[in-house]
């Protein structure tokens, strides 16, 4: 067998380095979550699962998990249809200023989360004053903010799947007797499907793990998981957080794997 050429070795090395850099933090968190000692140090004095029990016992994480799940689901459910409609309009109508609107919709990606969160907080306070009702610490307020996170992803992903489709297929359907709505349902929607599924996934994850935007907007008793973790960190530093993070990482991994069974993510994104 011939030895691999130097360029192949260099390439292989770069790939290995990239993967190490990306995966090291994840693996570290997972390893730390089973260290026995409270203050993280090396080498471990032993291994235990008690931090997982501790996380389970502390209500704020379980509640935070439920809240996050609730907020992420609602934000996805509202944001993805909105983003899909926007993508359709942008790609199909050829309207004036489409490029500007498209940039605007991608805006939330460019603005730092803390800035956006603070701006929203101030805006909500104003709105509360005008409307004379609570917004800042309500579920609605938080979900509305998270919808902003879901829209850029949805617009990007659905636009990509629409641009990749052969519009003649829609004409063919019309030619065969399909009315406009049937054309949409039977031809256009299936073409957008991979984009929409990927958009749901990314939207959900974006919302689920968001800390900065949520920080000022969560109300008492409605703390999301990332905020609950930050709160915990203010008082103690022990591997409980690593245990919670591990559970979160596994959840996202499962979501990705399940989605990949329906649409090949590598092909869509």
């Amino acid at each position: 067998m011939a030895l691999p050429s130097p360029s192949r070795l260099v390439f292989g090395g770069l790939v290995a380095t990239a993967f190490t850099l990306m995966l090291a933090p994840v693996v570290t968190v997972m390893v730390i979550s089973v260290f026995r000692q409270e203050i993280v140090s090396f080498p471990p004095s032993g291994f235990t699962l008690r931090w997982y029990l501790n996380a389970w016992d502390r209500q704020e994480f379980a509640r935070g998990f439920i809240s996050s799940l609730q907020v992420a689901s609602l934000a996805t459910l509202i944001g993805v249809p909105l983003g899909t409609a926007a993508a359709l309009a942008l790609v199909r109508s050829g309207m004036r200023g489409g490029a500007a609107i498209s940039t605007l919709l991608l805006g939330p990606l460019a603005v730092p989360g803390v800035v956006a969160g603070t701006a929203l907080y101030m805006f909500y306070l104003r709105a509360e004053f005008w409307l004379d009702r609570d917004i800042t610490s309500t579920l609605q307020g938080l979900v509305a903010a998270h919808v902003l996170l879901t829209i850029p992803w949805t617009v990007r992903l659905v636009t990509a799947s629409l641009q990749g489709m052969d519009r003649a297929a829609e004409e063919a359907a019309a030619n065969l007797g399909a009315r406009p709505f049937t054309v949409f349902r039977r031809v256009t929607l299936p073409a957008m499907r991979p984009g929409i599924i990927a958009a749901c996934l990314f939207s959900f994850i974006q919302s689920f793990e968001n800390l900065e935007l949520s920080l000022l907007l969560v109300g008492p008793g409605r703390t999301t998981l990332p905020v609950a973790m930050l709160n915990y960190l203010e008082f103690r530093v022990d591997p409980t957080l690593a245990a919670v993070a591990t559970v979160q990482i596994l959840l996202v991994a499962v979501l990705l794997l399940v989605t990949d069974r329906f649409v090949s993510i590598a092909r869509t994104v």
Binding site: A168, E171, A172, A174, N175, L176, G177, A178, R193
Partner: protein
């Protein structure tokens, strides 16, 4: 099944004209080709028949009924798209059944008709494949089957062969034509390939810049072209600018006086059209012409000639090995002749004087 009538059909986009005014009567069971270079309006015309482009003038009648304002789904046409436009997420069977489904035809009959039409295009047994699992030729036949299965009154083909390789193209051409004749389909085909049009269609419509130049059979267009554009587009042709000096005598722009088949009339700018196969060449030391280049093409040989400053192309059967023609080489003097009747006088190409608005 039915006839197709285009009545003064036109399309403008703002001030630019895509299709000027097309009058065409396609009889039941006839196949008509719209032929022309890209941008001539042939595809726009086809799309107006299918209902994807709304005409700005004129009418479209299918089977005698006016469908000018009808949406595509309400027109009884079956179209084969250049890209085939198969539904990528549906199986071959579902693609073909789509039109029947839209017509609310029961499952049993649907399945039977799909089977029959797939047998017709020789794709039986491939019902469950996805389009991307098929070759280009097979995809093309699925597109044909999908359009045929609904028995459309008018069959529309938009450059159906342009995505096939040359060898397959010839085969499919014959297949489509045979199918069209067997089923008696009223058919409109759009193509920029003159060979395709000549071999498939009963009649051809030559279009250029939104206008119909000539309508006729292959023989009409080749032997009796109406203008220099048609003469040059359908087959190869020597087109010489000049004018008729006296009956039967044509003076080229470069000054040569040539015999032509115009019995009467004189003066006025004109174009002399002379098919290369009608030009005879012979070695002659004192001949008026000069050989510029010879191209050997197997059964035929092309001679590029210069006749007193005028370039001419002659195509002759390749002479036998002993023939003195075989020894001709560039620079040699030759005699050039043709039957006066073979040289047709056509009206000079009119520069587009009419304003576009």
């Amino acid at each position: 099944m039915g006839s197709l009538v285009l009545d003064a059909l036109g399309k403008r986009y703002g001030s630019s004209v895509a299709v000027e005014r097309v009058d065409l009567d396609v009889r039941q069971g006839e196949m008509v080709a719209l032929l022309g270079p890209s941008g001539c309006g042939k595809t726009t015309t086809l799309r107006m028949v299918a209902g994807f482009v709304e005409p700005t003038a004129g009418r479209v009648l299918i089977g005698g009924g006016d469908v000018t304002r009808a949406p595509p789904h309400a027109r009884d046409t079956g179209m084969v798209f250049q890209s085939y436009a198969l539904f990528p997420h549906m199986s071959v069977g579902a693609n073909v059944a789509f039109g029947l489904e839209m017509r609310r035809i029961g499952r049993a009959e649907r399945e039977q008709r799909v089977r029959e039409v797939l047998r017709l295009v020789r794709l039986e047994g491939l019902e469950d494949r996805l389009p991307r699992q098929l070759s280009g030729g097979q995809q093309q036949r699925v597109a044909l089957a999908r359009a045929l299965v609904v028995n459309p009154a008018v069959f529309l083909l938009d450059e159906p062969l342009s995505n096939l390789d040359a060898k397959l193209r010839g085969e499919v051409r014959m297949e489509i034509r045979a199918l069209q004749q067997r089923l008696g389909l009223t058919t409109l085909i759009v193509t920029h390939d003159q060979e395709e049009a000549l071999t498939m269609a009963d009649r051809l419509v030559v279009m250029e810049r939104g206008r119909v130049r000539q309508v006729g059979s292959a023989e009409d267009l080749y032997e009796r072209p109406a203008d220099p554009f048609v003469a040059g587009f359908v087959g190869r042709c020597n087109l010489l600018d000049g004018r008729l000096e006296t009956p039967g005598r044509f003076r080229t722009a470069s000054g040569a006086l040539l015999p032509c088949g115009a019995p009467e009339g004189a003066g006025g700018d004109a174009v002399l059209a002379l098919r290369p196969e009608h030009v005879r060449v012979a070695p002659a030391a004192d001949g008026p012409g000069r050989l510029v280049a010879v191209t050997y093409l197997g059964p035929q040989t092309e001679y590029h000639l210069d006749l007193a400053g005028t370039r001419l192309l002659a195509v002759q059967p390749t002479p036998g090995a002993a023939d003195p023609m075989r020894r001709l080489s560039p620079g040699d003097a030759v005699s050039i002749s043709w039957d006066a009747a073979a040289a047709r006088l056509l009206p000079a190409a009119q520069p587009d004087k009419e304003p576009d608005a």
